[in-house]
Amino acid sequence: MSVAEINKNEVDIVIGALNADLTQFLSSWRTFFSGFHLIVVKDPELKEELNIPEGFDVDVYTKTDMEKVLGSTNSTMFSGYSCRYFGYLVSKKKYIVSIDDDCVPAKDPQGFLVDAVSQHVINLETPATPLFFNTLYDPYCEGADFVRGYPFSLRSGVPCAASCGLWLNLADLDAPTQALKTEQRNTSYVDAVMTVPAKAMLPISGINIAFNRELVGPALVPALRLAGEGKVRWETLEDVWCGMCLKHISDHLGYGVKTGKPYVWRNERGDAVESLRKKWEGMKLMEKSVPFFESLKLPESALKVEDCVIELAKAVKEQLGSDDPAFTQAADAMVKWIQLWNSVNSSG
């Protein structure tokens, strides 16, 4: 598959605006966003007016729009980094590409700027191979193939549900790790895309992600909010929780999740040591989540994504609800999310 074959009409680029001034961000991405429709969703807690440069095909959604669609009680579901999920909700396209507003295009080892949007779409359009690991990574890319010993019956792969990209410069490390290694920056460009095997769990980062909305849209749930959730990634876990749900549901439905390229360049923002000062309950919640997801089995009868989310929410409430109120809230949010999804997307 090549860049030339991408149908731009099938893609929405959804940007969550946690910063009011998007001039630098959008200007840096102009070449690669050109020809695509953009959805910019403003964090409902951001007071200043958004500053968006000319020349983009963009729809902007703010707190007012959220309240029109959802009623005023629901906009907290979309505050902070979760504002982008509102964009996922109202989009009408097949694919969504979402990048944090503090990231710019990265350079590959040859010095060329990386077209992250196109790479994501290529990842989503080509099959995933979660049932058997290919040691030469993505078998469908130029110059590679399935290796000796790879079962032939598995070579057509399965639909790709999500494409998880990576980050040069400031990698998506947690606060304790970055605080300990203040100078560490990711300079390693790993030239590979691969499918994360079925049943394997992984921490999916929302910083640079794309997914097939038609296939798994409802599974990207804005659900887990930390009590002290902040406006830097070190103070959130919403994407990691969302990713655990997404991966589990993808495994259940026989879809694949890819990881690797494309890279984006993530700029410096925030202070890891500062974030560390907040009581970081995220660690505790992850520890509880892992055995839950490990042993979770969705019922065979859950064949639609929406049903999977509802079943997952039920299990979260039953098995994790008593451990921490954050889980009960997450379960309720997941149910609410599906109600919203169904109402917005049936009338759309």
Partner: protein, 357 residues
């Protein structure tokens, strides 16, 4: 296109790691000229050469290498009737080298594998990278999106559970190949000119519960942790199948590693694979395997070893019983293979009494 490294002028590694606890096992039927190129990295180590084919032929080993060499006569003499489990006229015979070794670690490499270059042009010391892989933990229980978290410049990403950050012991380090990729015969026939020129600068752990095609061309393992499971099966002369030796071992070691809580890594190091084997010859060897693996894979995917199987040997014997029970119906070959798996363990324990748990 990609070239091998030119190692002329590179001095022998003055600080080689683990020289007294690592053996290099090389199967060969032709010659060992390729070792000249590996001299800077491999000369400090002890070699176990397993000579396949005609035992009356003399294999010349380049000057300066410390080695022991076994031909078919030696294998028959040492194992007696149990020698039947060691393949003839197939590089699968290399596993005899694993059995006679007394070291903790094994590095095995094919005699058509040269030294590769990294993207900066530097010669890759594959053995050094394998050692690094084996000495630091694996992370099979949760996938790290930045790959090996213990590498210089990397770490665990946000959301990676802290309770899993110590990892588990690494049993196997599976390296890759530039130039001639390890394709099966059908793929070779369709893409005879394809060369692997992509240097993917990563090592990663293959998640628990996931199978992979293990290639024996560039492989290292902890013999104490997993050695008895590294049997390369019955291939070659008198057998209905070939080129599935390392595959078979790979499926066996992976289910056993998963069961025992050990890790398997893949990725770096690269070697430069210089020779493309004849795809028509390969097709004849692989032919049955292509069909059989459709049944073999689900078999391995569903294997459940018992709680009582706590040593590698116990796991392997249990596996051999399941092979006999579940795969014999595909072909009587599997009945023979299951018996050979038992013979292998008996031979292993005879030659390695101290390693029994």
């Amino acid at each position: 296109m990609v070239d091998p490294a030119n190692t002329v002028g590179i001095p022998v590694n003055p600080t080689p790691l683990l020289t007294d606890v690592l053996d290099i096992v090389i199967p060969t039927i032709r010659n060992l000229d390729f070792l000249e190129m590996w001299r800077p990295f491999l000369q400090p180590y002890h070699l176990i050469i397993v000579q396949d084919g005609d035992p009356s032929k003399t294999i010349a080993v380049p000057e300066g290498f410390d080695y022991e060499l076994y031909n078919r006569n030696d294998i028959n003499r040492i194992l007696g009737p149990k020698a039947s489990c060691i393949s003839f006229k197939d590089s699968a015979c290399r596993c005899f080298g694993y059995m006679v070794s007394k070291k903790k670690y094994i590095f095995t490499i094919d005699d058509d594998c040269f030294v590769a270059k990294d993207p900066s042009g530097k010669a890759v010391n594959a053995l050094e990278q394998h050692i690094k892989n084996l000495l630091c933990p694996s992370t099979p229980l949760f996938f790290n999106t930045l790959y090996d978290p213990y590498r210089e410049g990397a770490d665990f990403v946000r959301g990676y559970p802290f309770s899993m950050r110590e990892g588990v012991s690494t049993a196997v380090s599976h390296g890759l190949w530039l130039n001639i990729p390890d394709y099966d015969a059908p793929t070779q026939l369709v893409k005879p000119k394809e060369r692997n020129t992509r240097y993917v600068d990563a090592v990663m752990t293959i998640p628990k519960g996931t199978l992979f095609p293990m290639c024996g061309m560039n492989l290292a393992f902890d013999r104490e942790l997993i050695g008895p499971a590294m049997y390369f099966g019955l291939m070659g002369d008198g057998q209905p199948i070939g080129r599935y030796d390392d595959m078979w071992a790979g499926w066996c070691i992976k289910v056993i590693c998963d069961h025992l809580g050990l890790g398997v890594k893949t990725g770096l190091p690269y070697i430069y694979h210089s020779k493309a084997s004849n795809p028509f010859v390969n097709l004849k060897k692989e032919y049955k395997g292509i069909f059989w693996q459709e049944d073999i894979i689900p078999f391995f995917q569903n294997v459940k070893l018992s709680k009582e199987a706590v040593t590698v040997q116990q796991c392997y014997i249990e596996l051999s019983k399941m092979v006999k029970e579940k795969l014999s119906s595909i072909d009587p070959y599997f009945d023979k293979l299951a018996d050979a798996m038992v013979t292998w363990i008996e031979a292993w324990d005879e030659l390695n009494p101290a390693t029994k748990a």
